[in-house]
Symmetry: C2
């Protein structure tokens, strides 16, 4: 069966998966953890093949780290599976309940989305994470992982799928796509696949968005800002800016641009430049910023359109602004609506910033690096959405649910209301 | 300025609209109601031109009814504006609040989506409804109405826009597109327009979805079902089926298909056929159903693939099924995931149906015609979504909001948590 036929079958079976009881879904997660432990050697052997191929193909050492599946990754996966079992059921939450009229009750209740396609980077641990999130959330999933870990993926998928079936979940709850050509086939499955979650480079996510009618939840770039206000505690500002830029520069919630209020820029910029320089950061700034940074620290020249650049590295754009208004306008114009932080002790200024910045995360006096599902206490994260529809920011289990309306009556018909024989009374019950 | 430039400006101004206080947004609604009353004659004159043109072009009388803007429509619009002012503010709702650690508080708060493009049918009252929904929800909007009411739309837009500006809302809060060519321009505004809401035929909605990168909230067809179980009260079943089919056959929540349990079909089908026939409904059924309906009532023959047909008229598909399982499978296969109702007195059967039918509305013992924003008590409706992402079913003000995460700290940095110096304690506050 090709992906198209498998997606069709999955769609027909998805109501079974949606209505699987919590105990069964948690049992599947427990069985996956068990099976991973029992089959650890087979997984490590498959991964060794992937690692040997990576070495042979001259894959960079930093990327090789992500391809590796060792005892540490196994333990992380098992810990994640245990945490996930502890989380409350995301299905069946009553989101609204209203009596429309005597004996006619409307309930909005959370339920799984249905069939989800996830295309993810070459990281064997991601296969386990994603499939367990889909199981806990009651969704069927088609999984396509990076080809650099195809041997590991094949073994891991077999183990995860078997454990799910052993727990009594439908055979079609999880499907693996192995060929790159199957991605294009997956993109054509509108009507059967309800949501696509692509993880990877901006170009890859854009390709997906441009080539499918299926709704896509993906994030574009992460151009995050730290704005240091005139009423900032400057020591705090240095500390937060350095953490935002350097704690893990390659990820999307790292800051790319530092905006500084002109009233304090002359005093603040040399201080932050020194601290950044000590961490290996190079500044790229406007002429005004470069002058204020001083000659002791290097600051390259920047062109206006470069303010939209996601460096993903130890490089940072710097600009001096007149006030919070100019900072907000700059962020809304050049940013990626991901996460932006203001450093200030002035409540009014902070309120303005947090209301006017049009981003998934608006922070005060803390690092942009907090934008993450684990740090938000979601237990797990499917990805970070910079779109505004459905889910925004870090997406946890809730982002994999939709809702349906249940209406229970006793033979109620609309004609009685249209003719004025009866009237709605709308009483909220929950 | 073309639509592209106007959308760009709107995007830059949208944070002002998003943060306009409730009093100001309500004041704008009150001013619109006032201005409509004061300028009624001018509106009626413009509408008379549209009506004369429609008459000249031989537009059908049933459609002419929708083009007309008279005292009755004016009063409906004003009543709607008054209701909308009474509704609670959809902005600033605290959806979640969690202390991540001492003094580090995360809040998920509802906020407007930003810039919305609405393309709607030729109905002058819709222009007023849609623009007032956008104002109440804090969104900027680009409005494109049907060309058959262009004279009415022009006058109404000028009045609505001026009232909004008089209330202090940004000049760019509302923009009108008048040319059909501007629709294609609007579809290119990804990055500036956050959401498109097309209203109209299936073909039109599909065209929009296929030709834009902007997220689209639209409904496809409405193929709704009534399933009459063996444990149904048959008199109730007749009443609900007739209402679902005939109360307003042209709309999407009218039922298209009647499914009947085989155990009672022999008794029930002739009864429901007679009641439907009295209302002018023609049945199209399987051979088995045709035989059971009997010779006294006409029942045409149906082919399997016709079960996906949205008649929008006094025509109904009929099928005999073995049990609730076959009914559910039929609905999930041939339906449009809109609204489906079961008639039964058996709780287990009802629970199975409501859990397994993958539709926005799953009903028990009541008419599918209840699927409507007004009847759900939303006060107003932007449309009905048969998609599962973001909003599902009738979409009220809440569907025009997204959320953002606010994080307030005191100089908190991620490095302290990464190095184990500090630990999250995740305490839910709301």
């Amino acid at each position: 069966m090709g992906i198209r036929e498998q997606a069709r079958q999955m769609k027909l079976d998805s109501p079974k998966m949606m209505s699987a009881p919590l105990e069964q879904r948690n049992d599947a997660l427990a069985r996956i953890a068990d099976a991973l432990r029992k089959n650890a050697n087979e997984i490590f052997e498959a991964n060794a093949k992937d690692m040997a191929a990576a070495e042979q193909n001259g894959v960079a050492k930093t990327i090789q780290k992500r391809l590796r599946y060792n005892e540490g990754k196994l333990n992380d996966n098992i810990a994640g599976l245990e945490q996930l079992q502890e989380l409350p059921d995301p299905i069946g939450k009553i989101l609204m309940q209203r009596e429309l009229d005597e004996g006619l009750v409307l309930t909005r209740v959370s339920c799984p989305i249905g069939v989800i396609g996830v295309i993810f980077e070459a990281r064997p641990d991601a296969l386990v994470q994603i499939s367990s999130l889909c199981i806990k959330s009651g969704n069927c999933a088609i999984l396509k992982g990076g080809k650099e870990t195809s041997n590991s993926n094949r073994v891991l998928f077999r183990i995860v799928h078997q454990a799910a079936v052993d727990a009594g979940l439908p055979d079609s709850c999880l499907v693996q796509a192995e060929q790159h050509s199957e991605i294009d086939e997956l993109l054509q499955c509108d009507g059967d696949v309800d949501l696509l979650i692509p993880r990877g480079s901006n170009q890859f996510v854009s390709y997906i968005m441009n080539n499918t009618k299926i709704p896509v939840m993906g994030h574009s770039s992460g151009v995050c800002h730290v704005y240091v206000d005139k009423d900032a505690n400057q020591d705090m500002a240095v500390k937060v800016a350095v953490d935002s830029k350097t704690q893990y520069p390659a990820v999307c919630n790292a800051a790319e641009t530092l905006l500084v209020n002109r009233d304090i820029a002359g005093e603040f910029l040399p201080k932050v430049a020194k601290a950044m320089h000590d961490k290996g950061v190079t500044f790229k700034g406007t002429d005004e910023a470069r002058e204020m940074v001083g000659e002791s620290t290097e600051c390259e020249s920047i062109a206006d359109d470069e303010f939209s650049t996601e460096y993903g590295d130890l490089m940072m754009s710097v600009k001096v602004v007149a006030d919070v208004r100019e900072a907000v306008d700059h962020i809304n114009m050049y940013g990626s609506h991901h996460t932006d932080s203001i450093i200030t002790n002035n409540d009014d200024t902070a309120d303005y910033f947090m209301a006017m910045v049009d981003s998934a995360g608006v922070y005060r006096n803390c690092s942009t690096r907090f934008a993450d599902g684990f740090r938000y206490g979601f237990g797990a994260e499917v990805g970070i959405s910079t779109g505004k529809l459905h889910a925004r920011g870090p997406v946890g289990l809730d982002g994999l649910e939709t809702y349906k309306y249940r209406l229970i009556g006793h033979g109620d018909i609309v004609d009685d209301y249209a003719t004025g024989k009866k009237q709605f009374h709308f009483k909220d019950l929950a």
